[in-house]
Symmetry: C2
Subunit: 216 residues, 2 copies
């Protein structure tokens, strides 16, 4: 447990929400959470306030906290913003690429190649995440990196769903290749464009996501 019960609880509850242990719309009872995690209501409340500020739950005055249910349309909007931010990160990365970032991108990219070749979608899910994080970091904008990481966390479950779609794994990897090429070539505009379409969920990719969401 972290040195601070409030922070620890925030992460704990956040993970429970993102891993769908608490269903969207579910009411989070402070007392239940408190006994479950073996603390008093005070740190639980602090954790809930933070999750509310992040946007994962909604606290209705005097009526408790409920897990926010981002419907397909809202998830689409979130991916739309994510695509924009990643595009910016990519374009900055292409312009500012240094040796360390280049190696980080190359390393995570080759790990993606391996898990894609093995058809291991769980491994690819993880490696893909590291690949994108490497790009965020390569942009050399701390604020942008933080924003990307935060939004990435919220979209993580849906990114995972997406990978289960047929052929998505190999398609994703070939898109990665083009992205890496553009960044390494210093072509910021191209990197931006490629990342936007890679991350965005236009057309059938959106239908796939909706289908996956409905399937749960």
């Amino acid at each position: 447990m972290s040195e601070n019960a409030g922070r620890w609880l925030r992460d704990e509850i956040e993970n429970s929400i993102l891993s769908n242990e608490f269903s969207p719309g579910e009411r989070l009872d402070e007392m239940v959470l408190a006994t479950r995690f073996g603390v008093s209501r005070t740190p639980v409340r602090e954790a809930l306030m933070q999750l509310d500020a992040i946007g994962l739950i909604e606290i209705r005055p005097r009526r408790g906290a409920i897990v926010i249910d981002p419907g397909p349309h809202r998830v689409y909007e979130m991916f739309e913003v994510m695509a924009e931010l990643e595009g910016l990160a990519g374009s900055l990365a292409a312009r500012r690429l240094d040796k360390a970032s280049r190696e980080a991108i190359a390393a995570t990219h080759s790990r993606c190649e391996q898990s894609a070749a093995a058809g291991d979608s769980d491994a690819y899910y993880y490696d893909n995440e590291e690949f994108h994080k490497a790009i965020y970091a390569a942009g050399r904008s701390e604020f942008l990196e933080e924003q990307c990481l935060q939004l990435h966390r919220r979209l993580r479950p849906y990114r995972r769903l997406q990978l289960r779609v047929r052929n998505r794994l190999s398609t994703s990897f070939s898109e990665h290749c083009a992205i890496v090429d553009a960044i390494f070539a210093g072509d910021g505009d191209e990197a931006r464009r490629l990342l936007r379409t890679h991350v965005g969920i236009q057309g059938e990719r959106f239908s796939d996501l909706v289908a996956s969401m409905a399937a749960r």
Copy 2:
């Protein structure tokens, strides 16, 4: 006072920070805030946790909360992201513009024209804000709109500083004109491009900002 002391305090303290009543780096003593606002420490702590989640303050475990000091470089990074988000909002607005949004943009735009003509930089500051908010709303993406509003709030003090720079007021308004034209013409790419450069603080605009920040 809002029905909820925690929310109320959050807004209250947030305003105090943004209006520079609490200086960056300053330590926020829970007991002092509690007595000042006539409440106990509990709601104060809840407000502080939320401000920490938003990124306005930093709570160091067992060492209290301090107001975050975004140096010029970080402010630049924040404007960079803001420019990207506003660009997206503008491009969506151009594509999805409906009657109500069109009227809202036209109305706020003409109010900007009046205050710009009058050389009233305080009035322009307010009208300009409404103009940009009209564009966020016209994008018809609730999530994007929320993100834009949140970042806008954090950058508000700096936007104000910028307007004090010589000629900035009329330059800003003529940029607005071009933006409105692009959006009304349905030219999403152009609206995006114009908004990016309008909001971003490249080159001398950045130096101006740094100078203004240092002047305080």
